[in-house]
């Protein structure tokens, strides 16, 4: 019997995949999945341009500088000291300005801005009347900062919007789309248990969403790493948990597809109008941080957020409510999170099974 069911599930998957991947009504899902990839490509292009400029500045300098040379410049140093360490600046501006000296009194001041580079990092030096007023280093590669940016895009755009709406588009239409197309009865007239049909459709949806969003996730990682030089890339991937993080992000993507998929499958069967359940689930997932502990467990974001490998720091001065949205106040362990999402999925699929068994074909009422 299990062999028969598996053969039937495979037949359903074959039929559904064709429809899901090539459906015109699902083209926007590809666009949503491609958006963060484009974002990271744009970022990589911008960073590459910056690096190109940095290298040009380094080559235009009088001396071949090191990062230590850049760090040696401190406030209060004299122009000659700066020139002795770093040489003649490849980029410099100077102008005369005024500086207040007391109530209603000011004086003329000669200002200069120098820019140096070691080929990767830029040093900006501001001088006033021949003394260093400020020295600021802009690091070309900031892995920590970039990893946080990647985590932010993943948690706040990819997870909460792209995967959420992608799953909505695919899973909600597994049954509802066929009711609208008036073709569901062909399935219901086949010698297949409705639970097996539902399982086949769910797996097809899962396969489709995972293919689309895992591909997007992998491309995002590639685009994110694009502007790093090979050495930095190796450091990030093999010595800075980069590879591990990439694998965890793929896993979280799959789990999110699983959880949201099950939610939207139920919603597509229970509701005729998709807007109401979508808004309800969106609000439910949004207010998750403010819910009591028991209710939190009936959401997808509660589990997947805990699995994300990079914690996003709350910027100082962020209002309490927003801080709660950004931070994960009560993270749970990875095994509990994975188990929790599987339980939530199973509950949703059980509800779907019961509904599909009772389902009647009555296209005229749609």
């Amino acid at each position: 019997m299990t062999r028969l069911w598996w053969a039937q599930v495979k037949a359903v998957i074959r039929l559904e995949l064709k429809k899901t991947f090539f459906a015109k009504r699902g083209l926007w899902i590809y666009a949503v999945a491609a958006l963060p990839v484009l974002l990271f490509i744009a970022y990589a292009v911008a960073m590459s341009n910056e690096q190109h400029k940095t290298v040009k500045i380094a080559h235009g300098g009088q001396k071949q500088l090191s990062y230590q040379d850049l760090l040696a410049i401190k406030s209060g140093m004299a122009r000659n000291e700066v020139l002795a360490i770093l040489g003649k600046p490849p980029v410099n501006f100077h102008w005369t300005g005024r500086r207040p000296t007391g109530p209603g009194a000011d004086e003329e001041v000669f200002r200069e801005d120098y820019q140096y580079s070691d080929g990767q990092n830029d040093l900006y030096v501001s001088l006033a009347d021949g003394k260093v007023e400020s020295a600021h280093i802009r690091e070309g590669y900031n892995l920590g900062q970039d990893a946080v940016m990647f985590a932010g895009v993943f948690q706040f755009f990819f997870l909460r919007l792209a995967i959420f709406f992608g799953c909505l588009g695919i899973f909600m239409n597994l049954f509802r789309g066929e009711v609208l197309d008036k073709s569901l009865h062909f399935y219901f007239l086949a010698p297949i248990r409705r639970e097996v049909l539902m399982a086949g459709k769910f797996l097809a949806g899962l396969l489709a969403t995972c293919t689309i969003f895992v591909t997007s996730e992998v491309l995002q990682t590639i685009a994110f790493l694009w502007h790093f030089n090979p050495h930095m890339r190796d450091v990030y991937l093999y010595h800075n948990h980069g590879l591990e993080h990439a694998a965890v992000y793929v896993g979280v993507t799959i789990l999110a597809c699983l959880g949201y998929g099950a939610f939207f499958l139920v919603a597509g069967i229970l509701f005729r109008n998709p807007i109401i359940p979508t808004l309800a689930i969106l609000v439910w997932e949004g207010i998750n941080p403010f819910l009591p502990a028991v209710l939190k467990q009936f959401s997808v974001i509660y589990y997947v957020k805990s699995l994300c490998p990079v914690e996003i720091p709350v910027p100082p001065g962020t209002p309490g409510l927003f801080a709660l949205l950004i931070s994960n106040a009560d993270p749970i362990s990875a095994p509990v999170a994975v188990f929790g999402i599987i339980v939530v999925t199973c509950v949703a699929l059980a509800v779907s099974s019961a509904q599909v068994r009772r389902m009647e074909i009555n296209y005229t009422s749609e």
Binding site: L4, R14, S183, H185, F188, L189, P191, R194
Partner: protein
């Protein structure tokens, strides 16, 4: 296992709207036609039989299987519905093949069965084209092929001749007859009565959700007492025969046929008339033929339901 399709006190309500009410049926093998005007409950009855809708009350059994057991039921049942919609992007062959695969058969068996079904409905040339480009008649035939592809014992066909040209109609009728001759249960809904008359072994007459009559058409006709039986007698001297028939007490009305070569008799006791005919024939009137004139579906339909929406 019951060798019948059984409806026991089945009712179906769509909210407050009646689909069918208190239907009791026991359908034997052969071609059974569901006849009735639009909204009489023909499609509801077929949808109930195939589990597409659930009865509000009552019990349905198809050859021993309940309709909530699709895994076993649809090995025996094929249903060509009236819905003129198909899954998008499929060719005729892909459509039949894909849904055959759902039964768990091997891909090669599914492919063979799909081509056989396509051949049965004469769609070989168009099978590799997308269904979206088919004419109405072709869509009807590919639906029929899909219903027949797994060689079901029960074939349920909702208006199967709609959209077909006369040649295709004749081919399909021959196909239904062949299926019935093999012992299949062919359930057909139609409101084209002369076709029903040609193909049916038995009819189920429906009106406003109720079964008005069921059985072989002649038996149903006999049950209708308020309408006298009409008999057409072809003979060489119809006036003389009419005069003799008027003498008999079983004659209600006798009228000369329009062509003057026969007469139409109305009687409440056909058996006595048939006995008396032997005597009349001996009196020198040459009788060519005697045939009932109103034991067809059309007449029965008109007597029981009225001539609303009848398509001759």
């Amino acid at each position: 296992m019951t060798e019948r399709i059984i409806f026991e006190d089945v009712s179906k309500f769509y909210g407050e709207i009646l689909g069918v009410n208190r239907v009791n049926l026991s359908i034997p093998p052969g071609i059974t036609s569901l006849v009735g005007p639009n909204g009489s409950g023909k499609t509801t009855l077929m949808n109930l039989m195939t589990g597409l809708v659930k009865p509000s009350c009552g019990r349905i059994e198809v050859l021993g299987y309940t309709t909530d057991d699709p895994e076993n039921l649809f090995k025996l049942v094929g249903y060509s519905t009236q819905f003129d919609a198909f899954p998008k992007g499929l060719t005729g062959f892909q459509f039949i093949y894909s849904y055959l695969c759902l039964s768990g058969v091997s891909l090669s068996d599914a492919e063979r069965a799909a081509w056989q079904a396509i051949e049965r409905v004469n769609m070989m040339d168009a099978a590799s084209r997308k269904i979206a480009g088919y004419s109405k008649g072709m869509r009807q035939r590919i639906r029929l092929a899909q219903a027949l592809a797994h060689n079901p014992k029960v074939i349920v066909l909702d208006e199967p001749l709609n959209g077909l040209d006369p040649l295709a109609r004749a081919e399909m009728i021959a196909l239904f007859r062949a299926c019935a001759a093999q012992g299949c249960y062919v359930i057909i809904s139609s409101h084209i009565l002369h076709e029903v008359d040609i193909i049916s072994d038995q009819v189920i007459l429906l009106s406003n959700g109720y079964v008005v009559a069921e059985g072989q058409i002649q038996s149903v006709r006999k049950e209708i007492q308020e309408h006298p039986t009409q008999i057409l007698i072809r003979c060489d001297r119809p006036r003389e025969l009419a005069a003799k028939l008027f003498e008999a007490e079983y004659t209600i009305e006798a009228s000369i046929h329009k062509d003057g070569r026969g007469l139409l008799l109305k009687t409440r006791d056909a058996d006595r008339f048939y006995l008396a005919m032997n005597q009349l024939a001996l009196n020198g009137i040459h009788i060519e033929s005697i045939a009932p004139a109103d034991d067809d579906v059309l007449s029965v339909y008109e007597y029981l339901i009225g001539n609303e929406e009848v398509i001759r």
